[in-house]
């Protein structure tokens, strides 16, 4: 009887712990989502400010606008969205690097403010991704460790993927190549 009670209490604790970890993962993912949407709002401003000056980089500007429209349409899977967001990151990084080539843009106060906002948002996204990865790691650990793995398999919980930086993003931006 006593053993049964103890087993029940332990089981409930593990169950609640797993639910908490799963919700923590969802919460952290929604935080990333909020910040990514915040970045979407900055894209039209960036394009509007630089398009008159950067006549020779219209293709880059059009690319980032297209990616934004595509991701905002909503008809993409989670994996596709992740790829698109990574592409947006890369395109925005390219635009920021190209601005260095335009002294009149660089000295513009509005452009500087916009760049500061983009930089801040990127850092916040990075922090939110780190939070997501920490939550997923904790969740995945619980799914693999004994005895929580027994309860997790009963609840049909599956391990989740971490945010991984693509290889091309890990490489340093080659500004020379961009400007040629």
């Amino acid at each position: 009887m006593l053993l049964g009670c103890i087993a029940f209490i332990v089981g409930v604790r593990i169950y609640n712990g797993l639910v908490y970890l799963k919700n923590q993962v969802n919460k952290s993912f929604s935080s990333v989502d909020v910040l990514l949407k915040k970045r979407w709002d900055l894209i039209p401003n960036l394009v509007a400010v630089v398009k008159h000056h950067m006549e020779f980089e219209q293709q880059t500007l059009a690319e980032v606008t297209r990616l934004r429209s595509q991701v905002m349409s909503g008809g993409v899977s989670a994996e596709q969205r992740l790829t698109l967001e990574n592409q947006i990151s890369r395109s925005m990084g390219n635009i920021v690097a190209l601005i260095e080539n335009y002294p009149d843009l660089k000295s513009d106060q509005h452009v500087n403010q916009l760049l500061a906002s983009i930089n801040e948002t990127e850092e916040q996204i990075s922090a939110a991704r780190r939070f997501y990865n920490a939550a997923v790691t904790e969740y995945n650990n619980a799914l693999e460790m004994f005895p929580s793995n027994i309860v997790a398999s009963y609840m049909r919980y599956r391990s989740k993927e971490l945010f991984v930086t693509p290889a091309e993003e890990r490489a340093n931006v080659n500004v020379g190549e961009l400007l040629n």
Binding site: S31, Q109, E120, A127, A134
Partner: protein, 396 residues
């Protein structure tokens, strides 16, 4: 004709004037600083500190006209940092005062003015600087240190000997054997006097060290006058430190304000866009008695809340939540029991996680503040400092 004062007398008078200023005895402070200003040569390093003390004393003593007049003369000084201090303080004394605007023809109008950053120096440069500028002071100080030590030892031996003679006298007068316990009992009064004497000696030596060495080192580090040094700061700065210290929650309780604060070796200034201030502080909490800043002697007992180097700076990122980084020891682990510090933040840097414990209101903002770069720098600093490092980030 005013009698010239020795360096020690100047030091003693300056400490006394500064103490009077801190204790609210403004007329006495004015008298001492005025006397010092007449006797000390304007080329002496302490001269500006005396002027500054006198202006503060005039201000507190409601002698605004004299304060403004002296401040105006400082504002026209050839030394840029001195003139800047004078101009800044004039705006406090006289609301109608217009700060002179320096026109820099090549500066961009839209760019905000940024203080120059500090170029880090090498150890070799520092050694060379010490050789060229500090060696003479250091040699003088070394002599002074030895003299101070000898004086303290002689005074100690005299105390022991006099007490022994006193005990012998008592023994022969009463005709009884004197126990060791009685000897130590008799020693309490001379020992107290000896401790007071030693403290005075150390204080005088310490002031010489601060004035000649620390200030020069600060000047060496900030080659373009970004940083300023003051042996002590004034009441309003003290209040600012008390507020920052309390809100930082380094102390156990957010609402627990120190009753007594001592701050020495204050360094302040602007590097790049960042205003910084750091000082050695001692914060105490008084128990019982009358809790008045100027009536310390009426306290029944005092307990130390914080002793160490307190660094205050404006953080470059925007945030709204609070983040606390504390050593990963027993005190850090039970910190949430004393005070609400938010959730435990588990960070991904294993070395940082092993060294520190982080609490914060927001998981994301704490990570936004504690970037991977900042974490590795904190770990490195902790290794170098070999002291407990606390970090509090909050909005003012």
């Amino acid at each position: 004709m005013t009698k010239p004062l020795s360096l020690n007398e100047i030091d003693r008078l300056y400490i006394q004037g500064d103490r009077n200023l801190h204790q609210g005895k403004f007329p006495a402070a004015v008298a001492i600083f005025e006397q010092l200003l007449e006797t000390v040569d304007s080329s002496e390093e302490i001269y500006f500190n005396i002027q500054r003390g006198l202006i503060k004393a005039y201000q507190q003593n409601q002698q605004l006209e004299q304060a403004i007049a002296l401040c105006q003369s400082i504002a026209q000084s050839n030394v840029a940092s001195t003139a800047l201090w004078g101009q800044n303080f004039l705006t406090t004394l006289d609301p109608n005062y217009q700060k002179p605007i320096e026109i820099e023809p090549e500066a961009s109008v839209s760019q905000p003015k940024t203080a120059p950053s500090i170029k880090l120096k090498t150890l070799e440069q520092f050694k060379q600087y010490c050789q060229d500028n500090l060696l003479e002071h250091l040699q003088t100080l070394e002599k002074s240190r030895k003299r101070t030590l000898i004086a303290m030892m002689i005074a100690g031996i005299i105390c022991l000997f006099m007490t022994w003679c006193f005990c012998l006298l008592i023994s022969s007068f009463w005709g009884v054997d004197i126990s060791v316990l009685f000897y130590f009992y008799c020693l309490t009064i001379p020992a107290s006097a000896w401790i007071i004497f030693c403290r005075g000696c150390v204080q005088v030596y310490g002031l010489g060290f601060k004035r000649n060495i620390i200030e020069s080192i600060v000047d060496f580090i900030s080659d373009r006058g970004q940083l300023n040094y003051a042996a002590h700061l004034f009441i309003e700065n003290k209040r600012q430190t008390i507020v920052a210290l309390t809100r930082s929650q380094i102390l156990r309780n957010e609402l627990e304000e120190p009753d007594y604060l001592e701050q020495e070796d204050c360094v302040y200034g602007t590097i790049g866009d960042t205003d910084i201030f750091f000082a050695e502080i001692l914060a105490k909490k008084a128990k019982g008695g009358h809790l008045d800043e100027f009536e310390r002697e009426s306290y029944l007992s005092q307990s130390i809340l914080f002793r160490g180097l307190f660094f205050e700076a404006r953080f470059a990122k925007n945030f709204v939540s609070r983040t606390f980084v504390m050593p990963n020891d027993f005190k850090g682990k039970i910190a949430p029991l004393h005070n609400w510090r938010g959730d435990l933040i588990k960070l991904e840097d294993p070395e940082f996680d092993h060294t520190f414990r982080v609490y914060g209101d927001s998981q994301i903002e704490s990570r936004y503040i504690l970037s991977t770069n900042l974490m590795s720098r904190l770990v490195e600093f902790n290794k170098k400092a070999r002291r407990k490092v606390y970090l509090s980030l909050f909005i003012v």
